[in-house]
């Protein structure tokens, strides 16, 4: 594919807006349609547009896979934390009467979103690298 200046400039303008939209979808997952998985996919498309800006860009795959592994372990720990407070696994660790219950949803959505985004970015980067060789 030949590099096009128009495509590169449009992607440069769109990149921050797609990032903001992805984080909005992730953070507002408990109020409006969306959530961690969908917002993570939008973040991954934002990083896909960076390939149109700079054609020699190579993402560091080791770093992405490391982020994904660590965030998956953090999600497991947050989900298991209710064993201490409530005595049962895989529910919210806050009590049913408290007003701060959305905090649990926001943190889990955030971690799931970053994890899904790094996974999809590494898949895209692998495919683009394979297509180039």
């Amino acid at each position: 594919m030949k590099p096009s200046h128009i495509l590169a400039s449009v992607c440069r303008v769109l990149f921050p807006f797609i990032l903001i939209f992805g984080f909005y979808i992730i953070i507002h997952g408990h109020l409006s349609p969306g959530g961690g998985f969908q917002g993570g996919a939008i973040l991954a498309t934002a990083f896909l547009t960076t390939y149109f800006m700079n054609f020699k860009k190579i993402t560091d795959l080791n770093f992405l896979i490391k982020i994904e592994k660590i965030f998956f372990l953090i999600i497991l720990l947050i989900a298991m934390f209710s064993l201490i407070t409530k005595g049962e696994v895989f529910t919210s660790f806050l009590s049913t009467n408290s007003e701060l219950k959305p905090i649990f949803l926001i943190t889990l959505n955030f971690f799931i979103g970053i994890k899904v985004a790094s996974g999809l970015i590494s898949i895209i980067a692998t495919f683009i690298e394979e297509g180039r060789n």
Binding site: G34, G35, N62, I65, T91, S92, L105, K115, S122, T126
Partner: protein, 88 residues
């Protein structure tokens, strides 16, 4: 020719069976769980979006394995695409 006729017959029979089954499901539907979630999700989980309330609180066990499926597929794709001396 015979293959095309057979495949069209198969598609038509699939359509008939699926529409019959969906009409049957409409008549005999039970709205107990729907009413339960609509009434109690905001009280139990504090989420105004029912889907988030279900997949992050009632069914958190499922969504953790849903997240692990992505991890496993990413590692599989990277393992298959790299050559033997480049595996991470």
């Amino acid at each position: 020719m015979i293959k095309k006729i057979l495949s069209i017959l198969m598609l038509i029979s699939l359509l008939i069976v699926f529409s019959l089954a969906s009409f049957e499901a409409l008549e005999n539907s039970n709205s107990f769980s729907k009413d339960f979630y609509i009434e109690n999700t905001y009280k139990h989980t504090g989420s105004k979006n029912l889907v988030t309330g279900i997949y992050l609180d009632y069914r958190l066990f499922d969504s953790i394995f849903e997240a692990s499926i992505l991890l496993v597929s990413v590692t599989g794709i990277i393992f298959m695409s790299k050559r033997d001396d480049e595996v991470l």
